[in-house]
Symmetry: C2
Subunit: 370 residues, 2 copies
């Protein structure tokens, strides 16, 4: 095999394929990138058995061939080479030569035959949206998946397509995040659970352009994302996702509107007095025109007041400050509206057309000894 | 005590004093900053018993007093408060109130009487130089101190003043770094060993301005740095520094000049094939007009060629690549000149007026099995 690349094309393709290389594995072939130039196109791929990525690379094929090479060292070498043409060749002993200007590296390769191919899927059912929208919708929901593998379903996100609406949902037992997006075309109803890890990795590869499109294909066990010269295939999580509709009551007794930045900055400051271990709630007291935020720990106490617009009853309620921060950080509106029922019921942060809904459960607190 | 500050003044002063707060200590009072407003000036200080910092803060004294407060939480609160006036007051129970706009924090303080004062020194003998020069000379030498406490002297740097030259030296048994700086005025001969930690911390506080001055005072056991509104006092390391003059032979058989960036980039790439643990040398082969760099490990091999100007004998010599990188990174010249004697003798990277000298010992290598 003999190939020639522009450094930037090569570095970019390696970075994309790397996203499917697991950081820890007992199967050393999974730590490799497969370079496949057996056809008229050069393709890099990686596969951790859950998630597979294949990307086409611009480059010149002088002699066809394929080889697998340890991803980490290969990517580091490529990154540190001068910004010029990079020549890659292999010999019959599976040694890979990488040369650029007067620099020459030699690293061991492995037979491409050992490499587990990415499954080929039927490409009939698909939706499409902009890279920007996909990247945003992931960012705005991914924080409330669970990282506890005991409940596999909570480690993924529901992608629910109905009529021409894509609804993305994540939940971890303490909160639910919901984002809705209108699709350009009608699509048949689909409900799948996509692993959070897949979405995290996709998010890192997406350039986020508004004009660039992603096509998402669905099969019974897999999801396939296609964009630019890259395809990402992931297994789906098996099982039935939670019926969240019954948790989304629209009853409320108190409705407030508050400047998002002031509210976020204030809660953010309150966390200075809380160590992760001691789960102190922030106590929010809502009265006409004013919200008081209080926190108290053995490190000290904080007390702040923020102007609000309020309708309905006064209320005093406690929250894990981190949950409020996570939701407020991904809302881009200047003001947010919050609906509350009582001190034991979840609060809802949502906008009028419900294109976002963040449900957060309150925590108990001792109103006197707080 | 009642004080009023501009947020930026307060944040800046806390950051300076924090540099003398140890990250780990069994004496909790050392984790505090002392706020002293008993005179007409507000001073913040911190002291880890080796290193003490005192800085004057702009602010209004409404009621005099002093208090010690846990540095970490205090600095975090100050940093996260809005950019406005900050009011600090204390009550008779040593509780500290921090208010800014509608935000109010309350944290426990400690009696200022518990705080170990920074020693007051005789200020008669001093030199002065620009903040820029002091910061640079530290950066250009600090990397070759030893971090092994078994040999205390190697953990510090020699400050050697003779005639009107300040010479700063560090060494760790494998290499020596020397930088010289001409002082504006003649000063009496002085040789002291300054702890590396002190120099690291000073370096972080110095704004690095060319027009701003630092005065350095010497007493038998201490060194005092005075700049802007800050003074930093440090114990000196006791003992006699190494006689380095006898190691600085000016004999050489080979002299080369090489583009610094090309040389550095090439060595930097070679380290991709070396894990810290396996100490593989980079083998340098010098011939007329060409330097070849080679490294080989079980991860692969590298071979590069760089154009050089050479006078004298051909030579093949091995080095720990990290030591070459450390020295080359702090030399700002476009080309560097290197003097070599033989494969067992140290190499010298130095300029014509010897304002810098970097001595690096070679390592043995097996010329065949390399």
């Amino acid at each position: 095999m003999k190939l020639v690349f522009k450094k930037s094309d090569l570095a970019n393709a390696v970075n994309i394929a790397m996203r499917a290389v697991p950081s820890k594995t007992t199967m050393s072939i999974l730590e490799c990138i497969l370079i496949d130039a057996t056809t008229n196109e050069i393709k890099f791929s990686a596969n951790d058995m859950e998630l597979g990525i294949e990307t086409a690379v611009k480059g010149e094929i002088i002699e066809k061939g394929k080889i697998a090479v340890e991803a980490k060292i290969f990517s580091e070498i490529v990154r540190k080479l001068p910004d010029n043409e990079i020549h890659i060749s292999t010999d019959s002993n599976l040694q890979m030569n990488i040369t650029c200007e007067k620099s020459k590296f030699n690293i061991p390769g492995r037979s491409g035959e050992d490499f587990a191919y990415i499954p080929m899927l039927e490409k009939d059912k698909f939706i499409y949206l902009s890279q920007f929208n996909l990247k945003e919708i992931i960012r705005q929901t991914i924080f409330s998946i669970s990282d506890n593998d005991n409940n596999k379903i909570m480690t993924g996100e529901l992608f629910d397509i109905k009529d021409n609406i894509l609804k993305v949902v994540s939940l971890d037992g303490h909160r639910i995040s919901i984002r809705k997006l209108e699709l350009k075309e009608h699509f048949e109803d689909t409900r799948v659970i996509v692993p959070g890890k897949t979405l995290n990795e996709i998010s890192k590869i997406l350039t986020g352009g508004n004009d660039e499109e992603v096509r998402i294909f669905f099969t019974p066990n897999h999801i396939l994302f296609e964009f630019n010269d890259t395809m990402v295939v992931s297994r789906l999580i098996e099982g039935e996702y939670y019926r969240i509709e019954q948790m989304l009551s629209s009853d409320y007794e108190t409705k407030i509107t508050v400047n998002k930045k002031e509210f976020l900055d204030s809660i953010d400051r309150s966390t200075l007095l809380v160590r992760d271990s001691d789960k102190k709630p922030i106590i929010i007291t809502i009265e006409d025109g004013n919200m008081e935020l209080q926190i108290k720990s053995n490190m000290g106490s904080m007390d702040e007041n923020i102007f609000i617009e309020k309708t309905g009853k006064d209320i005093m309620i406690g929250f894990n400050p981190k949950f409020l921060i996570d939701a407020l950080r991904v809302i881009d509106d200047e003001n947010v509206t919050i609906y509350l029922l009582n001190a034991k019921a979840p609060c809802f942060i949502k906008n009028d057309d419900e294109s976002y809904i963040y449900l957060i459960l309150p925590v108990n607190f001792n109103a006197n000894g707080r």
